[in-house]
């Protein structure tokens, strides 16, 4: 494992070294991955720092005397709010769960016909979907509000879900992946007697699992960290998400000493589910395209 990490390969009993360029690349990758890891390590450490460590100068990276002081602070803050924290948490988990299922479902249902069925306007439809990638979220806030409000789904879970349902990047990813599935595979299933829906469920989805997992991660992150639907479409506090609740806690904290500890724990709580989802799904993401039934 260590050898593989360093790019060294065993061949017989002889340790085969890499050439100079490979060494350079490996070194570069290690430096980059450490750099990418820094914020994560920082978030974990920061959450457990007592107040005197949070404000120490020069700032310390690692925690010296870990404590649950910040956790208690967060709990005491939330206990003072009218809606219990657990309600916000439930909202977020519920919405994110639905988002993962429906966003992947809708993306796949959209990508399959565009990729594998010839119909007039298929290219136009795909280009339009790609085009929507170019709009900044702020641009579509007002039209989105109008849609949600006219549908009468303000202040409902559906109001959380609907704006997130169409994920162009998900459609794009899946379409590219489905393109690689040989037509013969689908034709074989059709000859075996499968209808289109069955082909989709039993062949396309399982073969696309790596892409589905990627889309699921993106959908989860998108929905878990989303404050927009809560602030724009939810009128009652008990319908708002955990991310929104934490953002209200940590808002206006710049230059403020109070509540910094609670904010540090809040960012950890926001981050951990992302990590868990990624760890669960990463095996699927990394799994190479299962093209093995095909030569």
């Amino acid at each position: 494992m260590v050898q593989r990490l360093l790019g060294l390969r065993w061949k017989g009993s002889r340790l085969q070294a890499m050439d100079g360029f490979q060494k350079l690349l490996t070194l570069l990758m290690i430096v980059m991955s450490v750099f990418m890891l820094l914020p994560i390590v920082y978030i974990f450490n920061h959450a457990f720092k007592p107040y005197h460590e949070l404000f120490v100068y020069p700032p310390a990276f690692f925690v010296r005397e870990p404590s649950f002081q910040n956790m208690n602070e967060l709990l005491s803050v939330t206990s003072r709010s009218t809606v219990p924290m657990i309600r916000y948490l439930f909202n977020s988990v519920f919405i994110s769960g639905l988002a993962v299922v429906f966003v992947t479902g809708v993306s796949a249902l959209c990508a399959f016909p565009i990729s594998k069925h010839k119909f007039p306007g298929a290219k136009l439809a795909f280009s339009t979907i790609l085009l929507t990638l170019m709009f900044a979220p702020e641009v579509i806030q007002i039209p989105r509000y109008l849609v949600v409000s006219n549908l009468g789904i303000m202040n409902s879970y559906f109001g959380h879900l609907l704006p997130m349902l169409a994920m162009p990047i998900g459609v794009f990813l899946l379409k590219q992946f489905i393109d690689q599935i040989p037509d013969a595979l689908l034709e074989a299933a059709r000859i075996d007697g499968a209808n289109e829906f069955f082909v989709f469920i039993r062949i396309v989805i399982p073969v696309c699992m790596p892409a589905i997992a990627t889309v699921a991660i993106l959908a989860f992150q998108n929905s878990w960290g989303n404050v927009e639907t809560s602030s724009l479409f939810m009128l009652d506090d008990e319908m708002k998400s955990f991310a929104f609740f934490l953002s209200t806690l940590t808002n206006n904290l710049a230059g403020n000493v109070a509540m910094q500890g609670a904010a540090a724990v809040a960012s950890l709580i926001m981050f951990v589910p992302n990590l868990i989802v990624f760890i669960i799904l990463q095996g699927k993401v990394i799994a190479t395209m299962a093209h093995s039934g095909i030569k």
Binding site: A184, L185, A188, A189, I191, G193, R202, H291, S292, I294
Partner: protein
Amino acid sequence: MAGIRIEHLYKRYGKDKQTVVNDFHLDIKDKEFLVFVGPSGCGKSTTLRMIAGLEDISEGEIYIGDQLVNDLPPKDRDIAMVFQNYALYPNMTVFENIAFGLRLRKLPRHEIEQSVKRAARVLEIEPYLNRKPKELSGGQRQRVALGRAIVRDPQVFLMDEPLSNLDAKLRVQMRMEIIKLHKTLETTFIYVTHDQIEAMTMADRIVVMKDGVIQQIDTPETVYTTPNNTFVASFIGSPQINLIEGKIVEDIPGSGKLQFQTSRFLLPIPQEAARVLVHHNKVNKRVTLGIRPENIGLEGLFSDAIITGAYKVSELMGADRFLHLDIGQDKLLVVRVNAYYHCEENENIRIVPDMSKALFFDADSGVRFKI
């Protein structure tokens, strides 16, 4: 079990209506092993896919048994198809791959198990039933693909170049197994290949295609010995038939005896062939003579008609050796001789064609003369 009737089938693609299959008309008998053969792009796969229902039909009709299937989806045509790239479902085990079609028909569980096991036994893939396709070799995968087809017990088997991804040795072995399979199943097989050896060895009848048009439909023997035109003559047979350009001349004016003349040599034409050539009014006209390498011998085996050619290259095939000789034509003449025959480069070799086996084609259209 059913025959297939294909009536005036056309396939046109794109805006410019490019015709890929042109007036394909064919009656396939029940239990027949029919092979479509031709170079790539000749429309053989497209025709097969139209029979399977994977391509729309531009014009014409296809009947399986007595049923017109033009508008039937593939699943209702009672066919099974084996693809070149196997098309096994990568997410399922071998067992599930074979059982897939049966499960879709909602057969009882024990029946599915029985059928799959029986097919696996026939194809000798029983030990691999619980493996995923990626854990199998190319040959094993193709057996699974065959298994998936045979458990369905269809009326017609369609095979689209099923052996072309296998290595040479395995291909020969699988060829024999498919022939055996056809004998045991007693079902109509339609097999597409670009490999004329597969066509020759497996087919009851061969359909030779070129540019979407059928060139000849006949038994392998007939296609080989009496090809309809120069295309069929050169496509079937390896090494290729020798085609020699020349002119028909009269031996002694008025005698009725004809000779084939090139700038270098004269060959006598047997009576029967001469009658055909006279019938087509080809005396003193240009024709193409076709003669297979095995119908040319070294001097001494036959009496007259000797050609001298300069030796250029030889190919040893094990039991035989093929000599390539320069006889003053554009292409070298290929002669089959004994494997132990040796000669020097540019050495002049005297050879004797068996003119009773010679074929005569029109110099322009390439069509063989017959009465």
